[in-house]
Amino acid sequence: MTLWWIGDIVLLVVIFPVVVYLLRGVLEAARSIVAPVREIATVAAAGSKDLDAAALLLTTQDQVTRTVAGVAAYGGSLDVILDDAQAE
């Protein structure tokens, strides 16, 4: 009977607090993940929205192609009009 009481005391004083402590740690760790995941989801959505302008790169590419073509034509004309520099 004495050993039984000793077992009860150990169960209530040692094992129960340890179990509660460990489970509470797991719960706090799980809850601490929720907020950062929400923030990551918000940032990912914002980043995705920022990339909506990426389609304009096609317009930029077209403009750059036209500009370089114009520069090439202008450079070709200058090459004909201007004398080459004399060798130094």
Partner: protein, 202 residues
């Protein structure tokens, strides 16, 4: 049942209740994490999808710009010469000459003339339009040719004329008038009455 047994059952029940409470709470938290990660995955997937063509487009733009840079650098060096080219670059963008030209590594060794202090932008190129343009006859290499504060000698030195060197003989000025060695025939119609057209009859 002895009292110790009752206490044991109560203790076990307390442990089980604690397990149930904390494990259920943990499961709920993990559900929220899963839902958040689903949103993250959706957002990241959208980012990947939208940024997929960016690499190719930017590479194509860079290729075009590289071609433009090659063209302009080559044209500038060909037409202005390496030294003047670096002077023009330095004049237009102070400090840029130190970086040199991408296709001309030797350009970093060139001491850029202070073209920006002598000419306005583009003046040198415009001057080179004329093969005999006086301003193009002298190179801007070396010291500043024109004193911006107002120096007449510096201005005269821009021209290939040798007057500023005080030579013994200068080319004679052309002679004009009746005693000139070159005489031109006078046109008959100059000074004559203007021809009158016949009047129209009604």
């Amino acid at each position: 049942m002895p009292a110790a047994g009752v206490v044991l059952i109560v203790a076990v029940l307390m442990i089980v209740l604690a397990l149930v409470y904390f494990l259920v709470a943990t499961i709920v938290a993990l559900w929220r994490v899963t839902a958040g990660l689903d949103e993250v995955i959706a957002g990241v997937g959208e980012i990947v999808r939208k940024s997929e063509p960016v690499n190719d487009v930017v590479s194509a733009i860079n290729e075009q710009l590289d071609a433009g840079v090659d063209l302009l650098e080559g044209l500038l060096v060909k037409k202005a010469g390496m030294s003047d080219a670096m002077g023009l670059i330095e004049g237009a963008y102070p400090g840029a000459a130190a970086a040199g030209l991408r296709n001309f590594p030797e350009s970093t060794d060139v001491e850029a003339p202070r073209i920006g202090e002598i000419y306005t932008r583009g003046t040198l190129s415009l001057a080179r339009l004329g093969r005999e343009a006086p301003i193009a006859a002298l190179s801007p290499q070396g010291a500043v040719l024109r004193n911006v504060e107002g120096g007449s000698l510096a201005a005269r030195e821009l021209y290939p004329d040798v007057r500023h060197t005080s030579p013994e003989n200068l080319p004679r000025s052309p002679a004009i008038g009746v005693d000139a060695p070159d005489q031109y025939e006078r046109r008959d119609d100059i000074g004559a009455p203007r021809k009158r057209l016949p009047a129209r009859r009604p």
